[in-house]
Point group: C2
Chain length 141, copies 2
């Protein structure tokens, strides 16, 4: 139905701002996905201390298009943001809030949108490990 918010942000993401954006008395189901920077990576010799995200200039338009595609012909409402810049462990990199009249649609749209973000949003990340090493990671992480 509607994309209420689709933003690439250099500022910390507010989860309540996303859930508030999809608040609607017609919607019985609300699902919020938060993807956070984890403190470890099975491929890293030491712990992860931060991630640095950078985006293509068209990433915000791409994010909006992915949200529209995930909603399809359902009556879901979506608010989604991806943060860029340096994020410490525990910080939210992506927030996807979906509201729908019923839970099945809410889960499906939420899952489809986060998968499409991970697979095709033009955002890249550089992982900074505790030993000072840094490595670029592709999409799909």
């Amino acid at each position: 139905m509607t994309v209420r918010l689709a933003r690439i942000s250099t500022e910390p993401l507010s989860v309540p701002a996303h859930t508030a954006a999809v608040d609607d008395a017609r919607m019985g189901a609300e699902i919020t996905f938060v993807g956070r920077v984890r403190d470890h990576d099975p491929d890293a010799a030491t712990g992860v201390v931060a991630l640095e995200y950078s985006a293509h200039p068209d990433a915000e338009a791409a994010l909006h298009a992915l949200a529209v595609a995930a909603i399809g012909d359902t009556d879901a409402i979506v608010a989604v943001s991806h943060r860029i810049g340096r994020l410490e462990v525990g910080e939210a990199a992506v927030v996807v809030a979906v509201a729908a009249p019923h839970r099945q649609v809410a889960y499906e749209v939420s899952r489809e949108l986060i998968e499409s973000i991970k697979h095709s949003l033009p955002i890249w990340k550089r992982q900074i490990d505790a030993d000072g090493s840094a490595v670029w990671k592709g999409l799909g992480g």
Copy 2:
């Protein structure tokens, strides 16, 4: 892995309290499902104004057992509550917060738990419509 919270509550549910309960630096994915009282029911002639939930005395133990079953042998962490008593339109009846290292497990545990709550938690609801009529609704709503 762990059920951090499993409660039947007569008080309004705090979504942030549930997400805080599953906060953990090892967890890259966090999913919060909120089920709210909707303002309409396709079977009702008029709008819905409230729902009254009542629970079997063993419902809290049953909710904990459903959370344990949904987690299974995964490394997910869960905080879940169901509210009882009279709820107005827009109020949260159920909150399920799940954190896991990766999103696939988080989605699967979240979905499994809400489905099992809807299908087998011994909580019943009475729907109060705008025309003053009231009707008991079974599980699965």
